[in-house]
């Protein structure tokens, strides 16, 4: 069901920011985007984490062939379809072009060229070797210069560092959500909201956590089939979460960018203290992002090992052997290509996996439901 309330309040939030003279940078989901840099310069990041629909995908076809990832298609649809699905997208001043995947490049470029949004560039190497880290630093410095060129003001190092610390603290708080004994859908709502607003809603998240902590009801027990969710993130207003819970499933871990890949990217206080240059800190984070799906050659194996360990730990702790749903948005370069390899490797380790490939069309809902229910019956 559409989360109208969240989007309306987000619309008001962005309107307010805009009225205060802030510039907005929209970007396609990406776990290596240095949003701290934007915030240090006084910009508002607008992550495009909204689920697609048939109409949005259709609206992209004059720009992209239909064999493009459904999320990328929908991102074009947000801007090209009328009336706008999300009016606040009109408030975006800039589009960050990045190369998380090649569709990210194409879509950002199309949005910039066709919908009059100025473009900022941020490219990331495909490995994380020592030269790739140096290159990441170069890109960060370039992006900083580009932003400074817009504001005509230097971004002081201490401001960037303050933002890094602010986000770091916020993520540490969001991480606590993963440990709460609440249904997956409620965790997901919090993660989505956290990524949308960032530390601006820290107090609210803290309050939510504390209210959940005081409520001792074990909500997991109503969903006997606990699963891990990995692959592509579930975006705002996607019906997928409903299908999983209707089938009796409960997601205990979101091993996706909206989830673990977001809140686990933190630094210890020692690391923060040891690196004076904020650019070094951001680079360190890229270096530590061993599960990020952008990079080769080990991210896939790292993910497999992590999931195997998590399943085993969970088994030890709760006695349940949980399965893994690998969510693949159709035509996704990162998750679709290696789905068989991923499943095979995890199954060799005794972990049951459902490769759930789908686009955002309504017609596929019935079949998706069958797959999910059959998986729940299987585990």
């Amino acid at each position: 069901m559409d989360n109208i309330e969240l989007l309306e309040s987000y619309n008001s939030y962005l309107q307010e920011q805009k009225a205060n003279g802030k510039k907005i940078i929209a970007y396609l989901t990406h776990d290596n985007v240095p949003i701290e840099l934007f915030e240090a310069a006084g910009f508002v990041p607008l992550p495009l984490i909204f689920a697609g629909k048939d109409e949005l995908m259709d609206a992209s076809h004059s720009y992209l062939p239909p064999s493009t990832c459904s999320y990328a298609q929908s991102c074009i649809g947000y801007f090209s379809s009328t009336p706008r699905t999300h009016e606040f997208l009109d408030l975006a001043d800039y589009i960050l072009l990045s190369n998380h995947c090649v569709s990210n490049i194409c879509v950002s470029e199309i949005l910039s060229n066709n919908f009059n949004r100025k473009r900022l560039d941020f490219y990331v190497s495909y490995t994380r070797n020592s030269n790739a880290l140096k290159y990441y630093k170069l890109e960060l410095k370039h992006l900083q210069k580009e932003i400074e060129g817009i504001t005509k003001e230097r971004i002081p190092d201490h401001r960037i560092k303050e933002e890094i610390i602010r986000h770091n603290n916020f993520k540490t708080i969001v991480e606590q959500v993963s440990k709460l004994n609440i249904p997956g859908s409620e965790k997901l709502d919090i993660y989505q909201k956290a990524i949308l607003y960032g530390p601006a809603i820290q107090a609210e998240i803290e309050e939510i956590i504390s209210s959940y902590k005081s409520n001792t009801k074990n909500t997991n027990s109503t969903h006997p089939k606990n699963v891990i969710f990995t692959g592509c993130s579930i975006f705002i207003n996607d019906y997928l979460m409903d299908l999983i819970e209707d089938a009796g499933g409960n997601i205990v871990l979101f091993d996706t960018w909206i989830g673990r890949n977001y809140y686990s990217q933190t630094f210890s206080e020692e690391v923060i203290a040891s690196l004076n240059d904020p650019i070094d800190l951001l680079t360190k984070r890229f270096e530590n992002n061993v599960y990020g799906d952008h990079c080769v050659p080990d991210s896939l194996d790292n993910k497999i090992v992590f999931l195997e360990n998590y399943v085993n730990e969970y088994h030890k702790k709760y006695g349940d052997k949980i399965g893994v749903i690998n969510h693949i948005i159709k035509f996704c370069d990162h998750f679709s290509l290696f789905q068989s390899y991923f499943k095979e490797k995890l199954q060799e380790r005794g972990v049951q996996v459902l490769n759930l490939e789908r686009d955002y069309s309504r017609s596929i809902k019935g079949q998706l439901s069958t797959r999910i229910e059959a998986f729940m019956e299987m585990i």
């Binding site: 004059s62 720009y63 992209l64 062939p65 064999s67 493009t68 990832c69 990328a72 072009l97 190369n99 998380h100 995947c101 090649v102 569709s103 490049i105 194409c106 470029e109 199309i110 060229n113 560039d121 490219y123 990331v124 190497s125 495909y126 490995t127 070797n129 030269n131 790739a132 140096k134 290159y135 170069l138 890109e139 410095k141 370039h142 952008h294 080769v296 050659p297 080990d298 991210s299 896939l300 159709k330 035509f331 370069d333 990162h334 679709s336 290509l337 290696f338 789905q339 068989s340 390899y341 095979e344 490939e357």
Partner: protein, 445 residues
């Protein structure tokens, strides 16, 4: 010597290239087991470092068993016996064929043989679990590794902007445990070249470890010199002959030669010197034929650039265009700036020169974004003086195929030549649709 025999002999280089492609399996077996050479897979034309290391670059389809046309076998036997000179044996064989059609027939058969194998390997890739939503190229390549990957000693992978390509490369370790990576920075900013040079050095060290050979500046420069000569010959064919009003053969055959060059250029048929000689012969023979007036007047046939084809295309396309009165040019490697020469001089650092080549291809050819890539299309189309452009949109390709809308706009604004798009999924999948589209396209002339 009769004109009849000259016709055949003067195109021996093409047949030799075809034979070397199809008979790769035996050749590679010899290299691996008798000469104890290391086989290293390459895809896209990135074979320089492997040659310089003394290993054998292999575009993996060449490890397959192909049905070699009987004419090619006879030609090779004759060559082995008494070299490429005209032989009685060869002549007696040749007379069995319709003379004017022989090159067309044999080449057509070669291209079909390769494509049948490609389809077979594509199916194998699907059986292995690659989603049918992925591009033909990556799926076919996966099938090649499923089939014969175990014979390889290593892979060399280059990161490019296509994320599916990079992820595909990551999965190759399931077939070939030893992987060598050259991470190419996406943009040429600040000291990116220095970083890439270091990455190339690291790849060279890996190759040294695998082969046990030392890769010296001399060995690199030697390879670059050979590579540069090949590139010059390749460009001669593209710019001089394909632009000419008189072709040394039927234009459909000419396109087939270009297709064969595109395929074989990826690993130079695993022997740089032999490939250089074949290329050199090819240019010589084409020129001689043109000078002697052997061939076909194509002045009234529009020049059509059909691209990109390296990720898979419908090989009937050039025949369809020929029947519709056009000639087809394939020039992918030129568009992607992979035919740029690598500077060789006494004072230069060859590792850095190679890095420059890679970075240039990334930023100007393959393109870090669609603007750069489409600019390269426009520049090449202009330089080749083509009359029209057919864009081959490969199903499941999210990199190049996605740039068509931008390319079409640029073609309208900058070149004002007719353009159309054809869709490709698998060889033979929608020939009828291709015919209809190309028919309508040719009506624009």
């Amino acid at each position: 010597m009769s004109i009849f025999t000259e016709d055949i002999v003067n195109f021996r280089s093409v047949l030799q290239l075809a034979y070397n492609f199809l008979a790769g399996r035996d050749y590679l077996k010899k290299k691996k087991f008798q000469e104890r050479k290391k086989l290293i897979s390459v895809a896209l034309p990135f074979s320089d470092l492997v040659f310089a290391s003394g290993a054998v670059p292999v575009f993996p389809i060449r490890m397959e068993q192909f049905k070699v046309h009987s004419y090619l076998t006879a030609l090779n036997s004759a060559t082995n016996l008494i070299g490429w000179n005209l032989t009685t044996k060869l002549l007696s064989f040749v007379r069995k064929f319709d003379v004017l059609k022989i090159l067309d027939t044999v080449l057509d058969d070669v291209i079909h043989t390769i494509n049948d194998k490609y389809n077979e390997l594509y199916d194998l890739g699907i059986d292995h679990g690659i989603s049918s939503d992925f591009c033909y190229g990556i799926t076919g390549l996966t099938g090649m590794f499923v089939s014969k990957g175990k014979n390889l000693d290593a892979n060399i992978n280059f990161t490019i902007r296509c994320s599916a390509w990079n992820k595909y490369s990551e999965t190759l370790k399931q077939f070939v445990p030893r992987q060598i990576w050259v991470d190419i920075p996406p943009r040429n900013i600040d000291n990116a070249l220095e970083l890439l040079t270091d990455n190339v050095s690291q790849a060279i060290s890996d190759l040294e470890e695998i082969t046990g050979n030392i890769v010296s500046d001399n060995s690199l420069n030697k390879q670059f010199r050979i590579g540069n000569q090949i590139k010059r010959f390749y460009k001669t064919i593209l710019y001089e002959f394909s632009a000419s009003d008189f072709y040394p053969c039927n234009p459909a055959t000419f396109s087939e030669i270009l297709a064969l060059l595109g395929l074989s250029y990826q690993d130079y048929n695993s022997d740089n010197q032999r490939y250089l000689e074949s290329f050199s012969y090819l240019v010589k023979e084409m020129r001689e034929r043109i000078n002697k007036g052997i061939g076909m007047d194509v002045s009234d046939m529009p020049r059509i650039l059909l691209t990109p084809v390296f990720g898979g295309w419908e090989p009937e396309s050039h025949e369809i265009l020929y029947e519709l009165g056009a000639r087809t040019i394939y020039a992918d490697w030129e568009i992607l700036n992979l035919l740029e020469e690598i500077s060789v001089s006494k004072n230069s650092n060859p590792v850095e020169e190679y890095a420059k080549f890679l970075l240039n291809a990334t930023t100007r050819g393959i393109g870090y974004d669609q603007e750069a890539l489409t600019d390269s299309y426009i520049e090449t189309a202009k330089a080749l003086n083509v009359d029209g452009l057919v864009f081959n949109q490969v199903f499941g390709c999210h990199s190049i195929s996605n740039c068509y809308s931008l390319l079409r706009r640029k073609i309208r604004n900058k070149l004002e030549i007719p353009t159309t798009v054809i869709n490709f999924n698998k060889i033979g999948d929608n020939v009828e649709q291709v015919k209809t589209r190309l028919g309508a396209f040719m009506e624009m002339f």
